[in-house]
């Protein structure tokens, strides 16, 4: 029954059928608490879409529009101030030295649609980012890049954070890391996400480890 609902919700999102997706979401709310609807319907549906994108079965435009729509649905039942929102670990997302914002926007939407709250740092260069992470006492930093030089700059971010004795976990994502699956270790990151739903899984895991 729950699986049927997840599949139907995912199919509606994939087809950009907002009316259908909203109907299923509202129907689920009559049977479950808002936080359970998010965790048991929205998150698995977005996970399926993320896996589909990794396999080449779902396109980025569908993942983006689904994430954005889902984010709005979740915001309507779990506003940013809701105590059921997952504010811990203190997390932030950034585009590093790059002007390609779509990947970050997708991950941000999917994390928020999964009940997380996180800082959106927009675009930053290395020193500005390190300073901000330390000032905000961020525990999980998600870095999105599209081009190779930016991916290689993650090494500087990690080194400077380490030199400042920060215990932040750095999670990277973006095309260079997909095309070279050794690169995230090479630059000193703690994890690499292949899709937005990977980011949810990684942050959830880190949240468990930090508690």
């Amino acid at each position: 029954m729950l699986n049927d609902m997840v599949n139907a919700f995912r199919e509606s999102l994939e087809a950009l059928d907002r009316v259908g997706a909203e109907r299923i979401f509202q129907q689920a709310l009559t049977q479950m608490t808002p936080v359970n609807v998010v965790e048991q319907i929205a998150v698995p549906a977005l996970e399926q879409l993320g896996t589909g994108w990794e396999r080449g079965e779902v396109a980025l435009s569908q993942v983006y529009m689904s994430g954005r729509f889902c984010e709005a649905l979740v915001d309507s039942v779990l506003p940013p101030s809701d105590p059921d929102r997952k504010h811990q670990p203190r997390s932030a997302i950034v585009v590093l030295s790059d002007y390609h914002m779509l990947g970050k926007r997708i991950v941000y939407s999917v994390l928020r649609a999964s009940g997380f709250e996180l800082f959106d740092y927009g675009r930053m260069d290395v020193d500005e980012l390190v300073e901000r992470v330390l000032a905000d006492k961020v525990r999980v930093l998600l870095i999105s890049v599209l081009i190779l030089p930016s991916a290689l700059k993650v090494r500087d971010v990690c080194a400077k954070l380490k030199a400042a004795n920060s215990n932040v976990k750095v999670v990277v994502g973006g095309a260079p890391f997909l095309f070279d699956d050794r690169m995230w270790r090479e630059v000193g990151a703690d994890a690499m996400g292949r899709s937005a739903s990977d980011a949810v899984e990684i942050v959830t895991k880190l949240m468990g480890e930090m508690q």
Partner: protein
């Protein structure tokens, strides 16, 4: 040890390429090593200085052609040179391709008043045309000169940002069509100006059409229609490039746009792509440019062999990277190893292929 052909090379780069594009076997697999930024290294200049004058790029391309023994010249500067014509800016990096600055379309309503710029009024674009003319004077018809145009369908990623563009495609079809009309007019003028300056063909970069980015149903209604309209007006052959994106499910649809070549991703199997192209298009690719940064000469040779084994037979393969630009970080030793491997394993007939594939499959 599987023997390779030592047949002498009898063709120039143009003959080799045209034979391969005709789905016949030339003397050797054409090597389309799409180096751009490496020209600055050759001239010991910063990337910004290198792209500031046509003569730098002419000299850089000629040195790269000689050094790596490739089969084309690639007078591509950087993608945002096109958005400069629309009023955009470019940010130079010391170690990578120049990047596009803030979007020129700041809100969807801006599309309504968009003016199509004239190619000849853009200093950046005229510098590219001057480069193409200079290269043509050097090589005449012996080496293909590949011009570049960002497709009208993919240009909005730089004009307005990818997220806002996706929203426009889905939510504002009339405004999307207005933007496409403006971009097609620009792209056709830009492509034809390059052909008139001496380019042999136009590489039509269309990554948004990739199934990595949009589903096939949407491609058929948008990117494919735009490509058909634009390519029909481009007065020379085109090579559509997915810039690392997937395209296996839409190979036949891409061929229907009238393009001659498809630039394919390392994420997909070259043998399956060759079968799907079905001799209607040739393949350009699909070496992994990102991994290439850390290849050893042995890995480079293995990757070249793999690509040639999977797609070299019968012509129809131009060996290159999978993105349409070799990253700055790829060392010259790797590029030389690729060139050596093509010279060794790329000579037709490719009699080694069956044995090598059998050995590989048994090994796996």
């Amino acid at each position: 040890m599987i023997p390779y052909s030592t047949n002498p090379l009898t063709m120039n780069s143009m003959q080799r390429t045209l034979t391969a594009l005709g789905q016949h076997e030339p003397d050797r697999v054409p090597l389309f090593l799409l180096t751009t930024l490496h020209g600055a290294k050759e001239l010991n200049m910063s990337i910004e200085e290198y792209f500031s004058r046509a003569e730098h790029v002419i000299e850089g391309q000629m040195r790269l052609l000689k050094k790596y023994r490739g089969d084309c010249l690639y007078p591509f500067f950087y993608a945002s040179i096109e958005t400069e014509a629309w009023g955009g800016t470019t940010h130079y990096l010391s170690d990578g391709p120049p990047l596009c600055g803030a979007p020129v379309i700041k809100c969807p309503e801006d599309v309504d008043t968009l003016q199509v710029p004239s190619v000849m009024d853009s200093p950046g674009l005229t510098r590219v045309l001057e480069t193409i003319g200079g290269l043509k004077a050097r090589v005449q018809n012996t080496v293909p000169i590949i011009g570049v145009a960002i497709s009208p369908f993919s240009l909005p990623v730089m004009q307005m940002g990818f997220d806002h563009y996706i929203e426009l495609i889905y939510e504002q079809p009339e405004r999307f069509e207005k933007l496409m009309q403006a971009n097609i007019a620009f792209s056709v003028e830009w492509s034809n100006a390059q052909l008139a300056a001496g380019a042999t063909a136009i590489c039509y970069f269309d990554p948004v059409s990739s199934t990595t980015n949009i589903p096939r149903e949407l491609y058929l209604k948008t990117g494919q229609q735009v490509a058909k309209r634009a390519i029909a007006q481009i007065q020379g052959p085109t090579a559509t490039h997915m810039a690392s994106g997937r395209c296996l499910p839409i190979m036949s649809d891409i061929a229907d746009t009238g393009t001659a070549v498809i630039g394919v991703s390392t994420l997909e199997n070259l043998g399956l792509l060759k079968a799907a192209a079905n001799k209607r298009m040739s393949l350009l690719g699909n070496l992994n440019g990102i991994e290439m940064r850390r290849w050893t000469p042995q890995q480079a040779e293995l990757e070249v062999k793999r690509a040639i084994a999977l797609a070299g037979r019968g012509g129809g393969l131009l060996l290159g990277d999978n993105h349409g630009e070799i990253p700055w970080q790829v060392p010259e030793e790797v590029l030389l190893a690729i060139s050596d491997a093509v010279d060794r394993w790329g000579r037709y007939p490719l009699d080694w292929v069956e044995d090598w594939l059998a050995e590989r499959d048994n090994g796996e």
